[in-house]
């Protein structure tokens, strides 16, 4: 204790005290804070649970029986896949007004999402959630996936899925962090501005090939840093910032008189 007291005027003492205080506060809060409400979860998707969740979170915009209102479209026939996509990416429940619903941290966990999906699926036949095998990229052909991706997807999402602009502030998001299942479901259900790529247009095997292609992109670039894979504009920007910056820096050094 004497050692500590002797250092009480050390210039780092306030910093240490602050860190200590933060640690204690955080620890106390973690121990005493109430745990988040757990929904009544069953091991299988529960349509009744889904209905309750729907009434609580979705009915205000989508109508009490998901028949749609002026605010939001009808969900009858959109299928479990659409619900799983929208809710697992956090787009729904939508909380902000803007050109489009944006992905955000998900509000419903796996069981709740499954329950919601089951409920909406029960309202009308629609695309089902794909199986794990259907979305397993390692079973797909990346070459065929590339051929399909560049014809159907690259114009909005960019050649490797880095995202792109649409009109009036809308955009096609980057796909780097999208799960295999959600890639499949997005194609199948056509969320918001994205067109619908049903199984006759892009067959289930072709969808898996596209997933395989996107999985390949996770390896990065054979040439080094990807710089965002955004194309010549970002390359030009870095050429100026790093290339010309370093070279002019070198020129200033060369021209400066030595001491």
């Amino acid at each position: 204790m004497k050692a500590l007291a002797a250092r009480r005027h050390h210039r780092f003492a306030p910093v240490v005290l602050l860190l200590l205080a933060l640690l204690v506060t955080g620890g106390v809060y973690a121990a005493l804070a109430p745990s988040p409400a757990q929904a009544d979860t069953a091991s299988t998707a529960d349509i009744e649970t889904g209905k309750k969740l729907f009434q609580a979170n979705c009915a205000t915009c989508h109508g009490p029986n998901a028949e749609g209102t002026t605010e939001a479209p009808s969900l009858v026939g959109v299928g479990a896949a659409a619900v799983d996509f929208q809710v697992s990416t956090g787009r729904m429940p939508m909380q902000m007004n803007g050109p489009q619903a944006e992905a955000k941290p998900r509000q419903m966990d796996e069981e709740q999402t499954a329950a919601l999906a089951a409920y909406v699926a029960s309202l009308g036949a629609g695309p089902a959630i794909p199986t794990d095998e259907q979305v397993d990229g390692s079973k797909g052909d990346p070459a065929n996936g590339m051929a399909l991706f560049r014809t159907n997807c690259a114009m909005c999402h960019n050649a490797v899925g880095a995202g792109g602009a649409l009109s009036e502030g809308k955009f096609a998001p980057p796909l780097f962090d999208t799960s295999e299942r959600n890639v499949y479901q997005a194609m199948l259900t056509g969320p918001q501005s994205m067109p619908v790529f049903n199984d006759a247009n892009i067959t289930p095997d072709e969808k898996r090939d596209i997933i395989a292609f996107l999985d390949e992109q996770k390896q990065g670039s054979a040439g080094g840093l990807t710089l965002g894979s955004l194309g010549p504009v970002s390359e030009g920007l870095w050429a100026w910032i790093i290339g010309i910056g370093l070279i002019i820096g070198g020129a200033v050094w060369i021209g400066a008189k030595s001491s």
Partner: protein
């Protein structure tokens, strides 16, 4: 301070180098050339090395280009590609694209060389641009260097051609769409457009000829022209001797600096290795133009973020900004696509015309036929500096407009709003930039005047016995002062009167009047340099000058006459 002295009569050569030089001289009289060059004096400033960026990155382009040309096959014949990367395995593609993939994935160092080559191309054009900016803003294009300015502007255009033809060689979707856009622009040219399209592609787009043709352009025609013009450019630079910044002892009749051998040549050589090193580092660590992500050219796919390399973005931006209503059908049912001709032909034409004619226009409005070897400080030529900044502003606005979709995604804005903002900014921006720049230059000149007249503030406050406080100012030393007074504030042209002595109207008066108007635009607002008389008068005011000077009200100057005239 010594001048180059003539050496005494030569001794017999004993070393290997000496013997070689003697051998050559006995057959070529190379001694005459060596005498001019070996200890030639070059002024030393970092801003004189910007041209070297372009020169040395061109050398790197040649070196890496030879490597690439060993493996690239420009044929458009279709082959099935077998091998890396996995996304291209088994796909049908042109031989050009397949050889590019092969070079990137199978040849050791192939991808490194491709990337060094492409980064060097971007730096090559960027180097030309920064060098051109330095030459423009310091007035190095004045007599006797107008020809060199023209050569340089031609080199800029050739570098754009070299880059465009180069990145189109792999025959991928991104550059292929660029070729398609070029075809669309060419087709829009009145009367000859569709035939010109056939000429370029040897038939309909894309045909089978364009890549081999671009290959010939890219490795033979354009580099030959660039090498020839670079030779002329350097020759003229050596002949006219390099310019120098104003300073003590530097006049229009001398060059102050370091001799070519050894100091200057060593620094230049070192700069080459440093630039090459930066390019190698970038080529090894930063991915560029990964064509396998776009795939072999096919008229159906297109990628978001479809832009050309940065130096073509100004064309891309003008195409994006132009509203579509401008396409008209003339009588006779001919289509005049002004919505394409204006942004793709007329605007670039205007921009390059400005670059080509500027030295001649400025010479005419200055009425100056003297040689100039001492550079201008940009602040001392406010209108020229303002025009240069306005030009750059227009260029940058167009380049940003060409990137509007990336701006939209990265700043969460609407691409339509961005387009409208740039449409307006394209006209308003350069005018505003000109005005702001000119005012800043005039302000800096006034600051220089203040500094010369009153010296540096030392922060020492002295109180006299009578209670008066002054801040002590340290007068400038000779060198500092010379830098700030050694310039000419040009005046607008004076012309002969409209009628001669007998009242007869003079022919050519209207033309002279127009030039005089332009000259006034350039030189009406100016700040004259301080003269010794003004300095003496300032000192004569004694301590009063160390207080808040009356000079703050610009129209009123105590005693020294007309400091500045403004409108």
């Amino acid at each position: 301070m010594s001048t180059t002295t003539t050496p005494p009569t030569a001794a017999e050569p004993t070393t290997a180098i000496g013997k070689t030089a003697d051998y050559l001289d006995q057959r070529t009289k190379v001694g005459v050339l060596a005498k001019q060059l070996v200890r030639k004096v070059f002024p030393d400033h970092w801003s004189f090395m910007l041209g070297e960026i372009a020169l040395f990155s061109f050398v790197v382009l040649l070196i890496s280009g030879v490597f690439l040309a060993m493996f690239f096959d420009p044929s458009m014949a279709l082959v099935t590609h077998h091998g890396a990367p996995a996304t291209m395995d088994g796909q049908l593609m042109s031989t050009a694209f397949s050889s590019t993939l092969n070079m990137s994935f199978e040849v050791r160092g192939g991808l490194l060389m491709r990337q060094i080559h492409h980064w060097s191309a971007l730096i090559f054009v960027a180097g030309i641009v920064v060098h051109m900016m330095r030459v423009f803003f310091t007035g190095a294009f004045r007599k006797p260097r107008e020809l060199n300015w023209l050569v340089g502007t031609l080199l800029l255009i050739l570098s754009l051609l070299a880059g465009f033809s180069g990145y189109s060689l792999p025959d991928d979707v991104l550059s292929g769409n660029g070729l398609r856009i070029t075809d669309g622009v060419v087709k829009s040219i009145p009367i000859i457009g569709s035939y010109l399209s056939y000429f370029i592609f040897g038939g309909e787009f894309p045909g089978e000829h364009i890549i081999p043709r671009l290959f010939t352009v890219h490795i033979l025609l354009v580099p030959a022209l660039i090498l020839a013009l670079v030779g002329v450019h350097l020759f003229l630079m050596v002949l006219n001797k390099h310019t120098q910044y104003p300073g003590g002892g530097r006049t229009d009749n001398n060059v102050v600096g370091y001799p070519a051998v050894p100091a200057f040549a060593t620094k230049m050589g070192g700069n080459f290795f440093i630039i090459f090193g930066v390019l190698a580092l970038m080529g090894g660590t930063m991915a560029i133009n990964n064509v396998w992500n776009y795939g072999p050219y096919d008229p159906s796919p297109v990628s978001a973020g479809a832009q050309p390399d940065w130096y073509m973005l100004f064309l891309e931006g003008s195409l994006r900004l132009m509203p579509g209503q401008a396409e008209i059908v003339t009588w006779g049912d001919y289509t005049l696509s002004l919505n394409i001709l204006v942004p793709a032909v007329i605007i670039p034409g205007l921009l390059f015309t400005f670059l080509f004619v500027y030295p001649f226009v400025e010479a005419k409005v200055t009425g100056d036929h003297r040689e100039h070897h001492v550079l201008d400080r940009p602040r001392n030529v406010p209108t020229r500096t303002g025009l240069g900044v306005a030009f750059l502003t227009a260029f940058i606005i167009l380049a940003l407009a060409g990137s509007n979709d990336l701006i939209a995604t990265h700043f969460a804005l609407s691409i339509n709003t961005i387009t409208w903002v740039f449409r307006i900014l394209f006209f308003v921006g350069p005018v505003f930039a000109f005005w702001v720049t000119k005012r800043i230059c005039l302000g800096l000149q006034r600051k220089d005047r203040e500094l010369v007249l009153h010296g540096h503030e030392t922060g020492r406050i002295v109180r006299f016995a009578n209670g008066e406080y002054i801040e002590v100012h340290r007068p400038l030393d000779e060198q500092e002062r010379w830098l700030r007074v050694n310039y000419e504030a040009r005046r607008p042209l004076e012309i002969e009167p409209a009628t001669d002595a007998r009242g007869v109207k003079r022919k050519g008066y209207k033309k002279d009047k127009r030039w005089q108007k332009l000259s006034r635009f350039f030189y009406e607002d100016r700040v004259e340099p301080v003269t010794p008389a003004e300095l003496a008068a300032a000192h004569a005011h004694g301590e009063h000058d160390e207080l808040e000077p009356a000079h703050d009200t610009p129209e009123l100057v105590s005693g020294s006459g007309n400091v500045e005239r403004e409108h």
